[in-house]
């Protein structure tokens, strides 16, 4: 589905991702761990083609096709979707307008909005005066309506209360399992793993992949010993 080969990405002249190689197979859910500043969001944004994330070396391939230089909306057409960690406010554009653009099926929009407690938000401007949790629900709402083949989720549960994490987690898991989607999920809290069955976890440290393994085991180890301990670990992917 997604294949990254020897990728180096820079922001404002500084290399953030350094020569990384990585693959997500069809139907596979991968959890991405790493401390702040390790390059997790940069990886997702570079895959999506956002400006300012310059691919200096290497390739990003999606379904066998190189993405380098392709516009964001073209990547969307190929079947990629992103859920932002910090989405911008879009003044004058209602959430319902976005929903109708992403999915033609009104009943589907209505049902999903209800599931995510967003019915009352449809008539509001996107992200304007939304709470942190409302923003995340609106992001999940949009990406599920978009129905991409690969979901790039940047901290889907941060800032969300436990009750809503449960709502979001269940909706997401149901979707991923039923539709056999691929996903790359960044998490700090690990809560999302209580709901979503992930096959692999990866740790990104200083712009390099350090470790690959069972995500729950990795999360327990990180929680108990921190990322410093990771560095000591001898790992075949190091």
């Amino acid at each position: 589905m997604l294949k990254i080969e020897n990728l180096t990405v820079g922001i404002a002249g500084k290399d953030i991702l350094k020569d990384i190689s990585f693959e997500i197979r069809e139907g596979e859910v991968v959890i991405l761990f790493g401390p702040n500043g390790s390059g997790k969001s940069t990886l997702i944004k570079a895959i999506m083609g956002l400006s300012g994330y310059k691919v200096k070396k290497g390739n990003i391939m999606f379904k066998g096709k190189p993405l380098n230089g392709l516009a964001i909306e073209e990547r969307v057409k190929l079947g990629m979707g992103i859920m932002y960690q910090h989405p911008p406010k879009i003044r004058g554009v209602k959430l319902s307008q976005m929903a109708e653009h992403l999915a033609k099926d009104e009943a589907k929009i209505k049902a999903l909005a209800e599931k995510l407690s967003l019915t009352g938000h449809l008539n509001r401007e996107v992200n304007l005066d939304f709470s942190g949790g409302e923003m995340k629900r609106s992001e999940l709402f949009q990406i599920l309506l978009q129905d991409p083949k690969l979901l790039l989720l940047d901290e889907p549960e941060s800032g969300v209360d436990l009750e809503n994490i449960s709502v979001m987690g269940k909706v997401l898991n149901e979707y991923l399992e039923k539709e056999k989607k691929s996903a790359l999920i960044i998490t700090h809290t690990g809560y999302i793993m209580d709901y979503v069955k992930a096959g692999r976890g990866c740790v990104l440290l200083d712009g390099r992949f350090w470790c690959v393994g069972d995500p729950k085991e990795m999360f327990t180890a990180i929680r108990d010993s921190g990322y410093d301990k990771c560095k000591e670990c001898i790992c075949p992917h190091h």
Partner: protein
């Protein structure tokens, strides 16, 4: 619109794009002037006088007292060589539900239309007035001068919406002064989204009675080659008066000068001025000139201005939801030019929203 009025299909579209309902079904009174010769008017409801200014000056002895009064009040000159214009008066205590409309239309090539309008809202009367000013495709090198004097008596309410729908070689010069008595309200909404050669206007409201309130709201789109020098001024001359000036300006390559002036001449006033601008072309210019003056300490006056390009993050966000880059830009501009910024009554909001949506879609 009352008969007899025969218009070309193209002109009908242009007139409709300035907010005029040609059927007249959704209006309580209607006035139409083409160039200077053709003038048609009719009131469909009681409580409204609507006729040409010349006729009103002959018919009503008191009309002469209003003519030029606001200009003399501010010691300003005004052109006397006008022909036509409307006299609209809403009688004391009357609340008119459907809007009153006035259309000033330029048709003949090179014609200089000069009108003088008198609008009188008597005590506790209430009305929505929509004025559509537009030019036919044939009105090359046209000129429009519109003098408007508003008198809003004690407790009166006027919601005035003016939509300009000109073309690239037409010059326009509105001159407006509103005089508000105690507890009177004047809401002025201005929309200019089509190309024009130049517009020069600086309408003024004088809040002379305690508790009076004025608000000026504008949506301005500037096309390459256009010069729009547009301001609003409120003189808060009585205690406990309030004013608000809000402008949204987008330059596609033309020059916009967005002026605003708040002048406090009394205590306990509250006033705010806000200008936001987007420049979408290298050739575009927006010059915001906000001014605030106070002779008193006990006032609450503020202003904010922001000019720049569209936030790249917002465009990319929309792109990542599948919109093409130019679509994303157009969506953001249309959202920025939000009719909710205007103080429109519900009866006009949908109509104006449709007009701005259509004009912006065509213009962007």
């Amino acid at each position: 619109m009352p008969a007899p009025l025969e218009l070309e299909a193209k002109d009908k579209d242009t007139i409709a794009s300035s907010g005029i309902d040609l059927s007249g079904d959704l209006r309580s009174a209607s006035f139409f002037q083409q160039d200077s010769r053709l003038k048609i008017y009719q009131a469909f409801r009681d409580g409204i006088d609507i006729l040409t200014t010349e006729e009103a000056l002959k018919k009503y002895p008191e009309a002469g007292d209003y003519y030029g009064k606001n200009f003399r009040l501010l010691s300003r000159d005004f052109p006397q060589d006008t022909e036509g214009g409307y006299f609209i008066r809403v009688k004391k205590g009357k609340s008119i539900e459907l809007p009153v409309q006035a259309c000033l239309f330029l048709k003949a090539e090179g014609f200089k239309q000069k009108v003088h309008n008198l609008i009188i809202i008597e005590e506790d009367a209430r009305v929505y007035l929509i004025t559509g000013c537009s030019s036919s495709h044939s009105a090359n090198e046209g000129f429009h001068l519109g003098i408007s004097e508003f008198f809003i008596k004690k407790g009166g309410y006027l919601n005035f919406t003016m939509i300009h729908s000109w073309k690239e070689d037409v010059s326009v010069k509105p001159m407006s002064i509103a005089l508000l008595e105690e507890k009177a309200t004047f809401i002025s909404n201005y929309v200019s989204l089509r190309p024009v050669k130049d517009i020069n206007m600086y309408p003024t409201a004088v809040l002379s009675g305690e508790g009076a309130r004025a608000s000026f709201n504008s949506l301005i789109l500037s096309h390459p080659g256009s010069l729009q020098d547009i301001g609003s001024r409120v003189i808060l001359a009585a205690p406990s008066t309030q004013a608000e000036i809000i402008a949204r300006a987008v330059s596609l390559g033309g020059k916009i000068i967005a002026r605003g002036h708040l002048k406090a001449q009394a205590k306990e006033i509250k006033a705010h001025l806000e200008c936001r601008g987007l420049i979408l072309s290298e050739k575009g210019t927006i010059h915001a000139i906000p001014e605030m003056e106070s002779d008193f300490r006990d006032v609450d006056m503020s202003h904010e201005a922001a000019i720049g390009r569209i936030n790249k993050e917002e465009i990319e966000y929309l792109c990542s939801r599948g919109f093409a880059r130019n679509e994303a830009q157009s969506i953001i501009v249309r959202g920025f030019m939000d009719v909710n910024v205007l103080g429109l009554p519900d009866s006009l909001k949908k109509e104006i929203q449709n007009i701005t949506e259509k004009t912006l879609k065509g213009g962007l």
